[in-house]
């Protein structure tokens, strides 16, 4: 690069710095950098005397012109920050003093968000006890006694022949005992699994189960509801994959994978390079469940799903340890005000 080109480049670079400057301090810093005694332009001017005679004049003139020009532009730009601002009565940069807000627990926030989405689709909330009987948690949901399906859900048993519900689906049975279709319910709440506590598993977690029972409800409706939910919760434009699976209380049953929203399906650490994330289980309510609660499975069909809260929350907020949800560490809780 010739010195002339170097001067032109410096001039252009300095102009960019001027136009992008967002404070007086940054302008001053730039002025010192380009025009100061140790700056590149000064260096060029100093070196003019060592140049061949035929170049001295031209380079000297150009560099000097550039310096004068930039001086003027810096001065002009600095005015924008210093001269035009009216003097303030007080120091507006002191921190504001409104009372500090507390934070809702992140699980509450995610649970509420999920419920709001389903509420918008016309689902009402129903609840039930955390301590359940075998009947509501398993038998009425078509888990045969001594069937390996029971091993899918490690259960805590309590005295009095009871257990801690392993999912919120027992509420489905309780609702079906009392209401007639059409029924459109979500059952958010806490569930328990007898698992060793680790970064990936805890003794308790939250679920938002839901179901819709009416004449003519189809698997297409199920897909429709879940596709709409995933759009609302995870964002538009993500593909879903329905894989056949097995839950005693639904038939057909499916597990749903969503295209990883972190890498858009390209594969990353979170989705273990697969491009997909497992997020929920669903299916058509098993006719036995309807019959067990006195509904005619020929007349009515139902769709149902169960989605955890912790896992989607972990995915969405990139939380790597499920124990953080129950530690109640304020350094964690207060990040989600």
């Amino acid at each position: 690069m010739t010195l002339l080109e170097e001067v032109a480049r410096l001039e252009q670079e300095a102009r960019e710095r001027i136009s992008k400057a967002d404070s007086l301090a940054s302008l001053k810093e730039a002025r010192i950098y380009y025009l100061g005694r140790k700056g590149p332009l000064t260096a060029i001017l100093k070196s003019v005397k060592d140049l061949p005679v035929d170049q001295r004049r031209q380079v000297g003139a150009e560099a000097n012109k550039c310096r004068v020009q930039l001086e003027a532009e810096f001065t002009e730009a600095e005015k924008k920050f210093s001269d035009t601002a009216p003097r303030q009565l007080i120091d507006p940069t002191l921190p504001g003093t409104a009372k500090r807000l507390g934070a809702r627990h992140l699980i509450t926030q995610v649970l509420d968000e999920m419920c709001a989405i389903f509420h918008g689709m016309g689902f009402e909330i129903a609840g039930g006890p955390d301590i359940e009987t075998d009947y509501y948690n398993f038998t009425a949901l078509n888990f045969p006694p001594d069937h390996p399906a029971r091993d899918m859900q490690d259960t805590f048993f309590v005295e009095g022949d009871r257990l801690l519900r392993t999912h919120t689906t027992p509420v489905q049975v309780r609702v079906l005992e009392k209401q007639k279709p059409p029924i459109k319910i979500i059952t958010p709440g806490k569930c328990f699994r007898n698992e060793a506590i680790s970064s990936r598993a805890h003794v308790a977690f939250h679920q938002v189960d839901g179901f819709l029972i009416d004449e003519g409800v189809t698997m297409a409706d199920l897909k429709g509801v879940l596709v709409a939910f995933c759009k609302a919760f995870f964002g538009e434009g993500l593909k879903l994959k329905f894989r056949p699976s097995f839950f005693p209380f639904t038939e057909p049953s499916a597990e749903v994978d969503i295209q990883c929203f972190l890498c858009s399906g390209a594969g990353c650490q979170v989705c273990k390079q697969s491009g997909w994330l497992e997020i929920l289980g669903c299916g058509m309510i098993h006719p036995n469940v309807l019959a067990n609660t006195g509904h005619d499975p020929e007349k009515y069909t139902g769709l149902a799903w169960g989605i955890g809260v912790e896992r989607p929350a972990m995915l969405k907020y990139r939380i790597n340890d499920i124990r953080l949800f129950f530690n109640n560490d304020l350094r964690f809780l207060r990040q989600f005000i």
């Binding site: 921190p95 009402e124 955390d130 189809t218």
Partner: protein, 794 residues
């Protein structure tokens, strides 16, 4: 379960690449989790020929071998005990990549330069066996690529099957799905069994005493077998299914189980102890040693296979040590039985053993698949072990388990799925799955006994959609259900409570609800507890009966992490056990806890959180929900400091407790600073907002503010003073507030000065000065009378 890709390809005729095969099966509900190549670490190995073997000076464990690689004759140091001159071996030269990505380099050992390695199965990633090098057949072509010579280019498909799919616990089972996905034909293995003229019924009798748990027991007798190593094709297949080859007899039973899904057991007939098989429930306290050497004490949940005297196998779970096939075994009693899945589940839980057999029996095997399994294994023993198969199966199967017939309505299928499959397509899928489809209109579908999971029409509907794929169904919502969506008062309550309390600066905590019985008893010694019978740890052995201990654990956690200013609340359940069904109670409660100092900024100094931070928040809640005012009645709670312990009253009803946590108890949780806590039951409060809704008309007439300051005994409660003022001023007092409170050197000891601001206002007209002065006098007189108050600045 692991299966060989090549095997599945052979049985199904489907030639999708391995990854695609796994994906397609997963999308059909036969979940394939991983696909791993078998030969990844064998690619660089070749067939070598050990030309010479000689000692190395000063070393007795290692030897020097000259290996012919076809291209070169290389010097190799080898330490394997079974290496010998003349052997054909698996050889990896310099640069070859072996298991764990180990790359071979030229090394000098004891002065010998070694340019490669003679490999064991472990080094080639075939198994964990590194007891010796692999010795190949003598006709192996020197220099050939080992993977080609062994025909070992395969993939292991690892399946995670759902518990209903017992039918897919085998190569034929998975191949059946592949066939259905492609409408090909299953290629079942063909074989011809040759029996001797000796009837097996002369060698063994079978009696089943417990037919419910064992509806069928079949046996064959195979004589004159030679126990030894299985041929390579069999070992290769087992390796590619993740199974370790043991001996030909055991390998055959494993192979047949992997092939058709039916577990078999081979007893050494000479060690069996009798010539009869008696199947019965174990007796209480009966002892039995399984072939892993473990002694078990049984109970009737375990089904025992006996020789009429003692147990020889825990039926369907594991064989016994004494009748195991050994190297010198010559006569085999081959068992193929059908066990009740729920018995197997109880039995294997009792024994604490899960085996390949038990997990298949537990998911349900095919009671009528026994002939195939036992004949296939007998045939292989005949072919591979030189066995002579005695005539006939000794088969005890008194009541045959029949195939089910299910009505299937194609239109119902489309109605449930929201699909529009043709009847032809549905028929084809069901037939491809080896179900028999007959009739028109409602189809009569005969379900073979290998599909015990198919019980109803809906199960067949699932089969159809599983094979056709969920992508064949639209995701359109046609049903809308009810249009009016109610919001439950408890959800409104919870949401509003969180809004108010976070607005007051409280952070929400959430506990899992399990806690330690000792901790709960420390705070509430008299409260009953709900015990967990199978706790995950000693510290989580009950359901909590109060929100206070868990809140204090959270406070303690934060203090331990040097966050000492804490302001927490939780809405959560507490649990109480009862005798009768309706005695069991779950109560929704609210807990508030504060400790440390309030936040400070350049304008306001920090101050210690105290009692009034709690009552302030409670009063904001009361204001929001339009509850009556809370009051605080001094009373000792077991977890509070006697000097600051109040019952929390609302409408003269006790709803909870408020006060300062007992220091000693707090210290047990590592908390050495004062903590204020309040806990209240909110179940009764949820509905009150609706009742209280109403509106005060805006005032028309002007207000008359007046102040009054008094000095009273320090012990007079401020609440009583406010009440007295309100009573004296009656309806004309719009608000009464304390705006100053003073104790100290300016006034007499034991006294306090309180300044109140009263706003008088009438709804019916302007108040005159005289009227207001009259009121003030009355207020002052009452205060003097009630509290012996001295009125200041009259």
């Amino acid at each position: 379960m692991k299966l060989s890709y090549q095997w599945l390809k052979e049985l199904s005729g489907v030639d999708w690449p391995p990854e695609e095969m796994g994906d397609r099966l997963t999308l059909a509900g036969t979940a394939c989790e991983y696909v791993t190549p078998t030969a990844e670490y064998m690619r660089d190995a070749i067939v070598g020929h050990v030309l010479e073997l000689g000692p190395i000076e000063g070393a007795d464990k290692i030897k020097k071998a000259i290996v012919d690689t076809g291209a070169d004759k290389l010097e190799i140091v080898c330490g394997a005990p079974n290496v010998a001159a003349g052997q054909k071996v698996a050889f990896a030269g310099v640069g070859a990549k072996l298991v764990d990505d180990f790359v071979i380099r030229k090394v000098r050992i004891r002065g010998v330069e070694s340019s490669g390695m003679i490999c064991s199965e472990r080094e080639l990633g075939m198994s964990d066996d590194h007891s010796g090098i692999i010795v190949l057949d003598d006709d192996a072509p020197v220099g050939a690529k080992l993977v080609d010579y062994l025909d070992y280019d395969d993939y292991i498909l690892t399946f995670e099957l759902t518990p209903n799919r017992g039918d897919s616990m085998s190569a034929i089972g998975v191949a059946r799905d592949l066939v259905a996905l492609t409408s090909k034909k299953l290629r079942r293995p063909q074989f011809e069994l040759i029996e001797t003229s000796t009837p097996a019924s002369g060698s063994v009798k079978v009696t089943i005493e417990n037919l419910e748990d064992c509806p069928r027991y079949a046996a064959r007798i195979i004589r004159n077998v030679r126990v030894g190593r299985s041929p390579w094709w069999l070992r290769k297949r087992l390796l590619a299914c993740g199974m370790r080859p043991i001996s030909n007899i055991v390998d055959i039973t494993n192979f047949v189980m992997l092939e058709c899904g039916h577990p078999l057991h081979a007893f050494d007939l000479d060690r069996f102890g009798s010539d009869e098989v008696v199947v019965r429930s174990a007796r209480d306290g009966e002892k039995f040693t399984t072939l892993d050497g473990q002694e078990h004490t049984l109970d009737p949940q375990v089904l025992l296979i006996t020789n009429g005297k003692e147990g020889v196998a825990a039926g369907g779970v594991m064989g016994g040590l004494d009748s195991e096939v050994e190297d010198d075994t010559t006569s085999i009693l081959l068992e193929a039985a059908y066990f009740n899945p729920s018995m197997i589940r109880k039995s294997r839980r009792k024994l604490g053993i899960v085996t390949e057999s038990s997990s298949r029996f537990e998911k349900g095997t095919d009671p009528n698949g026994i002939e195939y399994a036992i004949n296939r294994a007998a045939f292989l023993m005949q072919e591979l072990c030189g066995g002579e198969v005695e005539k006939g199966i000794v088969d005890c199967y008194p009541s045959r388990i029949e195939k089910k017939v299910i009505d299937f309505r194609p239109e119902r299928c489309n109605k449930v799925l929201g699909s529009n499959y043709t009847t032809e397509r549905m028929k084809q899928i069901l037939s491809d799955l080896e179900l028999t489809v007959e009739g028109d209109g409602p189809l009569k579908v005969t379900v073979p006994t290998f599909r015990p999971d198919l019980e109803k029409e809906i199960d067949l509907i699932e089969e159809v959609v599983r094979i056709e794929g969920f992508d064949s169904i639209d995701d359109a919502v046609h049903t809308i259900g009810p249009l009016y969506t109610r919001i439950r008062p408890e959800d409104v309550f919870a949401d509003d409570t969180r809004a108010v309390l976070t607005g007051c600066g409280f952070d929400e905590m959430l506990d899992h609800g399990l806690t330690h019985s000792k901790l709960a008893a420390l705070f509430n010694p008299d409260l009953p507890q709900v015990k967990i019978l199978n706790p995950v740890s000693e510290e989580l052995d009950i359901m909590r009966n109060s929100l206070i201990p868990t809140a204090l654990v959270a406070v303690g956690h934060n203090i331990a992490h040097r966050v000492v200013d804490v302001c927490l609340f939780e809405l959560g359940k507490v649990f109480f056990a009862g005798q009768a069904n309706d005695d069991w109670r779950e109560e929704e409660r609210l807990v508030l806890a504060v400790t440390g100092n309030s936040p400070q900024n350049w304008r306001e100094k920090a101050r210690p959180y105290d009692f009034y931070d709690l009552t302030g928040a409670l009063e904001r809640l009361a204001e929001h929900f339009r509850w009556p005012q809370f009051s605080y009645k001094p009373e000792k709670a077991p977890f509070l400091d006697e000097k600051l312990s109040c019952r929390l009253m609302l409408d003269r009803r006790g709803v909870g407790w408020i006060g300062r946590v007992d220091d000693e108890k707090a210290r047990r949780l590592g908390i050495k600073q004062p903590v204020m806590i309040a806990e209240l039951s909110v179940d009764g409060l949820i509905d009150t907002r609706a009742k209280a809704l109403g509106f005060e008309p805006l005032a028309v007439y002007p207000a008359a503010p007046r102040d009054i300051a008094i000095v009273v005994d320090d012990r007079v409660p401020a609440g009583d003073i406010i009440e007295s003022v309100k009573k004296a001023a009656g309806e004309l007092a719009e608000t009464v507030e304390i705006f100053d409170l003073y104790t100290g050197s300016q006034i007499e000891k034991g006294k306090k000065s309180i300044a109140l601001s009263i706003i008088y206002r009438s709804q019916t007209g302007s108040l005159s000065n005289d009227q207001v002065d009259e009121m003030q006098k009355k207020v002052a007189a009452d205060l003097e009378k009630n509290f012996n108050a001295e009125i200041r600045d009259k």
